[in-house]
Subunit: 375 residues, 2 copies
């Protein structure tokens, strides 16, 4: 990934000559709501740098403009870096977007980092689809920018509409509670980093509001041709499925967003219960004797069959998934059917002794315990 960096330190300069106290001028409703959510999410208020991901679309431009408004009004005292990745999927249009974002950041006197990815090549290499590869490249780029600029938080402009689309996409693809609980407003940017990904528009801002705020601020935004391409399921959700659902309930986007939040809250409890069950089911291990084969490096701990069999299925299935994920180091390609296979082992001889997992790993039942063999 090529990174073109461009630095300025406009914040510092301005601080020297501007009035130290908060400006009294009327501020926008959009920025006011952003600040409310900012506090609710306990995002940093001062003495830090944040990275704002800006594609050039209305959502991310509105986020940038509103953070800038809060900074200039001294309601936040942060340093800001704008990060933009050209996915390399749209030729000249992509390069134009990059130049446009650079120009916008310049006009705001905000530092900007431009990145260049080769998403098509990445998709071939990782066997992901284009959307997945683009997201992977984007998050990698944002993590790199955040690390280099020593920022603890990366902000993206996902709105409530994005949330509703995500929930519906997962619904049509067939998902349990985790999928339907949609995006979190704050989470780790990547599995291995301390950097947070925060979406401070997610729980309140509609797409139409970001466009309206851009117009209020008299700033243009870019239309992404990928957002019009009906080959992408997300675009069809936005252009066909959501409008049809609105004919049943005009506030369906808000409803889906609230449903996702309720399911996320349910998930917190169920995850806690699963972690407790996993601890309980692991415990007995110390008491049991380990045979030679159990002690090999490929065997990642064991669980008590009896304790698992006595647990409610919703907790047990989450515990098994957590156990397998930790053992394999990834959830990749693990599906419900694999978990059902592992659960069958709990039925004793009738359920077999081995349950296969994707990629050659397997779970073995032996002397009242499940053993995870990782390939």
């Amino acid at each position: 990934m090529k990174m073109v960096e461009k630095k300025q330190s406009p914040e510092r300069e301005r601080k020297e000559w501007q009035a130290p106290r908060r400006a009294k001028r009327k501020w926008s409703e959009f920025a006011r709501r952003l600040l409310l959510e900012w506090k609710r999410l306990e995002l940093p208020m001062e003495q830090e740098r944040v990275v704002v991901a800006v594609s050039g679309g209305a959502d991310s431009v509105a986020l940038l403009m509103a953070v800038d408004e809060l900074l200039k009004d001294r309601r936040l005292a942060l340093e800001m870096t704008v990060a933009h990745l050209n996915h390399g999927l749209r030729g000249e249009a992509g390069r134009e977007d990059a130049r446009w974002v650079e120009g916008l950041a310049d006009s705001l006197k905000v530092e900007v980092v431009l990145g260049q990815a080769r998403v098509k090549e990445r998709a071939i290499r990782t066997s992901d689809n284009l959307e997945q590869a683009a997201r992977g490249a984007r998050y990698e780029f944002l993590a790199k920018v955040a690390e280099e600029r020593v920022a603890r938080v990366v902000l993206t402009g996902h709105t409530m509409d994005d949330q509703a689309e995500t929930v519906l996409l997962r619904l049509v693809r067939g998902s349990g509670a985790e999928g339907l609980s949609g995006m979190e407003a704050v989470r780790a940017l990547t599995t291995s980093s301390d950097i947070l990904l925060a979406r401070p528009l997610l729980s309140w801002a509609r797409r139409a509001e970001t466009e309206k705020y851009c117009r209020e601020r008299e700033v243009e935004f870019r239309a992404d041709a990928m957002n019009e391409d009906e080959r992408f399921a997300r675009v069809r959700v936005r252009r066909s499925l959501l409008p049809l659902m609105k004919s049943f309930n005009p506030r369906v986007v808000e409803s889906l967003s609230r449903m996702a939040e309720l399911l996320r809250e349910d998930g917190v409890v169920l995850k806690m219960a699963a972690a407790e069950l996993l601890e309980l089911a692991s415990e007995e291990e110390k008491a049991g004797s380990r045979s030679r084969s159990d002690a090999s490096a490929s065997v990642k701990g064991s669980l008590s069959v009896n304790i698992l069999a006595g647990a409610p299925v919703a907790v047990r299935r989450r515990a098994l998934r957590l156990w397998i994920t930790e053992g394999r180091g990834s959830l990749r390609r693990l599906e419900l059917v694999h978990l059902l296979g592992v659960e069958k082992l709990l039925a004793g001889e009738r359920g077999g002794r081995i349950a296969e997992l994707p990629g050659g790993s397997f779970v073995e039942r032996k002397r009242g315990r499940l053993y995870l063999h990782v390939k």
Copy 2:
């Protein structure tokens, strides 16, 4: 509700002259799968009477024919009563359906009970919509038939397609996990009865399969004009929303049904946790002193603010809903906004001292406890 009863005891007669052992003839795949599910749901296999609700549509006719097949093959040894309610919404067509169901039952030599409701009048009386009033009248009728015929189980022909439609209806209307978990395969028929409502087609049978089985058995079925009326949201879900969702995933009905099942399993755990929390939060009451006003009949117990405040929100909200439902005797018109109001009381003085509930009841915070005042 008028009930026209018609009795026969064909089962008994037949037993006298038919071979006592199970017939060896090839049985249908549909009946085989019904029997599998019958056993999974632990429905009665012998020495009981069951009531089968038959509208005349393909689903309920297939259910009736398949139960009849299992009875005649001696795979089940039950008595059966067919129950049909004319909702009084479709004039002559409704009367024709009733006569048709009666004729079908006669041809199978099965007892039939016909009922007559006045759903429009009921809807006006109860301020329900027509769909709700029709369902209310139907379940009341089925409960009455089951009581009179001493049946412990009432069977309905709901299919996996009905489940998917129910889930989507609740989704578009904005629902939490409970709503999205759809219909249960077995539940109490009414809140106050021991009679079970069982839906033995729900988790496996598609609507197309019930029609196919009817054709195999060379039995007609009735088309319900209400199933074509686009004024009903359910009809629009069936005819517009589901087909569009199938363009994303051809197996979306199965996916929605599986999702509902996963959410139901989650619900079991969360309900248990809520009941435990409620018990814990109620406990301290005995230790505290009750003032005169607390002791009045309108105050339905109290809960510890501290214990509630320390619980995860998903469990707390379910516990509060359970508490209020038990105190008021009904969940009627209780919405998320009311629960949020009660939760605010937990924040202490800032959250106020009173939270209103629908219909004049309210929750009061006093000396570290919540009191439910029922009007």
